[in-house]
Symmetry: D2
Subunit: 340 residues, 4 copies
């Protein structure tokens, strides 16, 4: 078996902390050696809590440390381009949270850097590693539903993020539906050729100021003529609701359910089970599994199943959907070039 991968985590917000925690405990073959966060005492506290030997307020200390094999980039999206390029230049293996970068042209830059320095890059589309989504993929590959021809997705947050977040989020298509754009490609197994999009503000009037909406619908077409519709919503008063369907020529797969605890309470008011309240409860395992996949790939010299290319393509779809929403017109995509 290969050596342990020495890792540093950059950015200790909620996701960065989870990645650090997973690397410190659950992930086999990894050793968390340093954590960085410029704000307050986040790095120091994390290091203490997780038993990590080093911490710093300066990401460069990790990016330039010759003792570190791989970096996990969980800093704000606007910094991804710089972080990834520096990491590549220093020969670090890279795990970067989604989206890969804020803009498509930045994605080209980081792809070039990654190629030039011959490092590995995995993008944090954790749904591919969720046991339900990966089982769906397995069933599709097994031919259980014939050829996939339609994908339908519902992603609903239990409420809107604060204005501060919405302001810098890039809009619902980039911030939220991007997960389903990636999953659509993953499950249909083809590239997207066009995007149409609609959206409205149903509950959160404050979003108007930022040109954003709390309810979005994207219609995608694929190379073979397959299609997809993807709903993104900030309006699920009842909980966190992530579901998908893949319709094939011989059957269909439904992914996900609302059930949280495996307990049902029967009273005069009816039969009730609780609903997954938020994304940690829904995707906790997926975050662990994606990080294990990253480490396993590094140790085995294999390519992750979701790379910087997938990061860029999802970004292009999100940009096309955003444009389609703003112009009211269908926007064509030229993703074929990416794969070349």
């Amino acid at each position: 078996m290969a050596e342990q991968i020495k890792c540093g985590v950059l950015g200790l917000g909620r996701l960065g902390y989870w990645h650090a925690e997973n690397l410190a405990s659950q992930v086999r073959g990894a050793k968390l050696v340093n954590v960085a966060d410029p704000f307050g005492d986040a790095a120091e506290k994390t290091a203490q809590k997780l038993g990590v030997d080093n911490w710093t307020k300066n990401p460069a200390e990790i990016l330039e440390d010759p003792n570190i094999d791989a970096v996990i980039i969980a800093t704000p999206t606007s910094t991804h381009v710089e972080m990834i390029k520096k990491a590549a230049e220093n020969g670090k293996q890279i795990f970067v949270e989604k989206p890969l970068t804020q803009y498509v042209h930045e994605a080209d830059e980081v792809i070039e850097a990654i190629k030039k320095h011959n490092v590995t890059c995995q993008v944090g589309f954790m749904r591919r590693f969720d046991p339900a989504y990966s089982e769906a993929k397995r069933r599709i590959l097994a031919g259980d539903i014939g050829k996939p021809i339609y994908f339908k997705a519902v992603s609903r947050d239990p409420g809107a993020p604060p204005a501060e977040f919405i302001k810098n989020s890039g809009g619902i298509f980039l911030d939220m539906s991007i997960h389903d754009y990636d999953v659509a490609r993953f499950l249909i197994g083809e590239e997207v050729t066009s995007a149409s999009a609609h959206g409205n503000i149903l509950m959160n009037d404050f979003m108007e100021e930022f040109g954003d909406v709390d309810q979005a619908l994207t219609y995608l077409t694929f190379e073979s003529g397959a299609a997809a519709d993807i709903e993104g919503s900030r309006n699920a008063a009842y909980g966190y609701d992530i579901r998908g369907e893949v319709i094939g020529t011989e059957g269909s797969i439904i992914i996900g359910s609302l059930k949280h605890h495996d307990v049902t309470v029967l009273t005069k008011q009816g039969s009730t089970h609780d609903i997954v309240p938020a994304f940690p409860e829904r995707f906790k395992d997926a975050y662990t599994i994606e990080m294990q996949h990253f480490i396993d790939c590094l140790r085995l010299g294999e390519k992750p199943i979701v790379t910087e290319y997938d990061g860029k393509v999802a970004l292009e779809i999100a940009a096309a959907a955003t444009e389609a929403f703003k112009t009211g017109k269908r926007v064509k995509l030229k993703t074929a070039a990416v794969k070349a």
Copy 2:
């Protein structure tokens, strides 16, 4: 196609009225020509409401009317023996509500009368006609679960009947679990060889006076070695709960669910659907289908799938379970003789 079957209904309590209503409207090949009930104006009102030409307070008017082909006996159980014998003597075809009679020795009398006068008799075990139970039987016969080896049943009422009813009910094993005894024979496809039984009063202390319980459990064995456990309960505060499972050597069938309307409401409190509140909502279709089966059998000269013999066997099992409950001992059954 044969002539229409001219029917008379005896006893217009809830079930009798339903049978009358079904015969007056939904059942093909039947004509309801008379209804009888000794109490108040039940017969007159029913005749008016359903557009029936005749009504009477005297069952004998129907039992002796040469113009009537078939009678539906929905009078109190204690009168069944007399009603069935008179009906048979007058050459009437007979549908009788469960239980066939109150005592096993009475069952022998009516079986003799039915045989002697060569009439048809169907007993009102409507569950055999419920779409879920009959689909389960079909799947078993299709071999989908291999050989059936165990039956498990839950029958829970949403509350206890009044003391007046309990007093004359014959006890929970005879009044309630008898449905599952019949279904057990139907689904396992074999005769019962022994019964053990347990029971306790969990909520309704008034039952102690009548030697009855509100929670009962029967354990049955079958000829081939198969077994069953059957729960009967008056304590389902949440609704009417009828479920069954047939375990086979290669799989299992689960029958029934709690869902009433095909609607689920999601709120912060969870995901809720309403529960079947009582037996009419659960078995309305079954009552219609069983009556259609009775009429179809008469017109086609065929034997119903559930006859006086099944009525007697279920009664014997109920008697054995009651004895087992009272003595704390396993009681053996000699049903083989019945079939001869």
Copy 3:
């Protein structure tokens, strides 16, 4: 209680026959006195089978018969305008299958005729009477999910109809999604203000010849800013799949499920229940209940909950969706005028 309503059925295709059967047996307060169909011996056979005294090949015999109170129009859509006008002129109460007419301008004509002759008209949007949809409406009115802000519908047929049908169907938006347009208005409780639409041929290449698609998506907006997305599909290899969701400010309602028999089979291959195979199994009760509603309204002098106006509005939405699909542009609706 009022007199029985004497009814005649025009057109004895599948739906016309069902309506006739329901009127002949299940519907209280109605008497089926004549049935008409120009093709072969459909009318004669139906009359014999259902015990109807008269039959004819000529609809005019029914439309002009002074003895008939109400007509059920289940003839081809292209004949609706003529049939409804004649019926109104003859003072007949009218039940007409959906769509009300083929074109919006025809709808105006029939609305005028109905108004002029002061007759009642109910349109066959049976989903409003389906126990699941009407329970959903009840729960919304009860405030269980707050204010409805989004409607999501899936309607999938288990396969495409033959080319002959598609040719004259008016396209998937008019033929299929129109049910969901009506339900969307019913459940959201507002008028639609715009329609956008997308569609592709995923499996049935023959549809290209007719400018139709087998997969359609409509995005609607409503007066208050609410929105909806509605999928119509001919590609559900697995069965007949009708589902809906109403998202409200405080919760959500899911309508419908795929379960057919209330039986689940467990084997090494997993836990399996069968799926509703086609629309009769799904909506049989709804057809009976809508006809009962029509007859009840006539007897009580009340207005049906779904009239010629609803028929016209649904037609307008379907026309707008079709135009939106063809032009790739959002089409605004002016339905407010209709209500005036």
Copy 4:
């Protein structure tokens, strides 16, 4: 926060290995310092795989090591009495797999030793820590179903263990239903006062030689008059099936379901999801959580929620059920004494 608890694992069969793995990675506050197994190279291999510094073939090395704080006893049941007593004498904190001991009198011995040496003991009834069971307990304590009056349990293995295992298992009541006896006490919140039991061989004739059965039913009564029925089975050809229900005076709780992956496949054959195949998939989390509870209790100086007393009581119920099964008579329990 307290020091890390230094642990040694005795017995590296499947469960012992899991406990070792959990202690080596997931459990916070624990350090696995030694592992013991007398057979082959199990200890050496486990130490290498999990990165444990020491291994041994001799349990005494761990039991007598002053450097070790706590031992996890996962050796054969027949050795528990000796292991626990030695551990207590050496002042070790104890986690012992269920059952506590093979015989009730041995349970008394170990309870005395534990008391004398003032050590903590947790018994491996992991179901109490399963998220579904613990949520059920929480809901009961919250009063959501009123007062619990009945418990119903189904525990079905996907097949019978080999003859070699059955021979030494103590029978189905001790080996299998003991989990539900403990859960029944946990959820009802009372002591058991009597046990009745039934059982048959439905599929595995070889069990006759050992006086064991593959299908068992236990009926329990509780101090307040509550009751329970508990099915244990080796005959679930379809998978691993663990379910429970707690009926209360105001509602009921259903615990567990059969669903494995959160994916449903729809085909012409129906709607299918896969079933939990075996106990690791069902209870993996529970094993981790129970070990975390053990370590947390040691660090916080608190008493585990399931101790040697619970281990003894469950053993007494299993012994009573076994006797009831053999004699055909109800067996009373005197568990009140235990608590004193």
